[in-house]
């Protein structure tokens, strides 16, 4: 195994790092959801509602990826739902930016 193999093959260390990254990402998404809810309650700024939903979807997306990594969940349904989540997150941020209210 040469030095590059550690990054290109599924070694236990890579799998561990992957799991840690998903968990850290999910925790950050949870913090951002709480922060957006707090900001919305303080200001009633409606565009924050888009951010709350976007962060929520992102959290679900990361958590699902983590689960999929631990328990194989590969099916046709997830092949559509997971990319749809990514698109929805981008659409929600776009709406938060362009929405006048």
């Amino acid at each position: 195994m040469n030095n590059l193999d550690i990054f290109t093959s599924e070694t236990p260390i890579i799998e561990l790092i992957e799991s840690i990254l998903y968990i850290v990402g999910t925790i950050f998404a949870a913090i951002l959801i709480a922060l957006s809810i707090s900001a919305y309650r303080n200001t009633q700024l409606q565009k924050l509602l888009y951010a709350i939903v976007a962060f929520l979807l992102f959290g679900i997306f990361l958590f699902y990826e983590f689960l999929e990594h631990s328990i194989p969940l590969d099916n046709a349904f997830t092949d559509i739902v997971i990319p749809s989540m990514g698109v929805s997150i981008l659409v929600l941020f776009f709406l938060a930016i362009v929405n006048k209210k």
Partner: protein
């Protein structure tokens, strides 16, 4: 014996709320070194008999002595717990009648964000917008609110880290949307 101790805690909590209007439960617990259960119980009892009132702001429930604080003063305390509106009010106290441009320059955040916060302060009846030629100037709405009184409140009421972060999230969205570029 237990009853005396509980009454004493109730009195201490009431005194603390009188001296620190807008305080929240965790603050009372930390300052008076009383258990959270006891603080919750006594604050509930004090509210029940009408000695104190409370209002929710974000994650915190702010407590006030009944009758002392009018609605606009409660609003003022809520605003002082948020970073940007607090700094705008401070600037108005310091400069008297700053223009919108002064506020933008001093706070160093985007014009749309400042505009949004200023409009909100006007809606809350805390500040007034006055036309001065081509400039818009701001002043405190209620002249009966003494700037020294606000300064006293500012010493005890400041945004915590969580409120600062949530405020910055709001500013990020306001800056991205760039709602209103007018700056006069």
């Amino acid at each position: 014996m237990r009853k005396t101790s509980l009454n004493s805690n109730k009195y201490r909590i009431l005194r603390f709320i009188q001296n620190n209007p807008g305080c929240y439960l965790r603050q009372i617990r930390n300052e008076l070194d009383i258990s959270m259960g006891s603080v919750q119980y006594h604050s509930y009892q004090l509210q029940k008999v009408g000695k104190i009132t409370s209002t929710r702001q974000g994650l915190y429930k702010l407590h006030f002595q009944s009758g002392t604080f009018q609605d606009h003063e409660k609003t003022l305390l809520q605003v002082l717990n948020q970073e940007t509106p607090r700094e705008i009010i401070l600037l108005i106290i310091e400069q008297g009648n700053p223009t919108q441009t002064d506020v933008v320059k001093r706070l160093g955040i985007s014009a749309p964000s400042i505009n949004w916060h200023v409009r909100r302060l006007i809606d809350l009846n805390l500040i007034d917008e006055v036309r001065d030629g081509k400039y818009k100037r701001y002043k405190l709405r209620d002249d009966s609110i003494d700037s020294k009184y606000i300064e006293e409140l500012l010493k005890t009421h400041h945004p915590n880290l969580w409120n600062k972060w949530s405020n910055r999230l709001v500013e990020t969205f306001l800056s991205l949307s760039n709602e209103d570029k007018q700056l006069l």
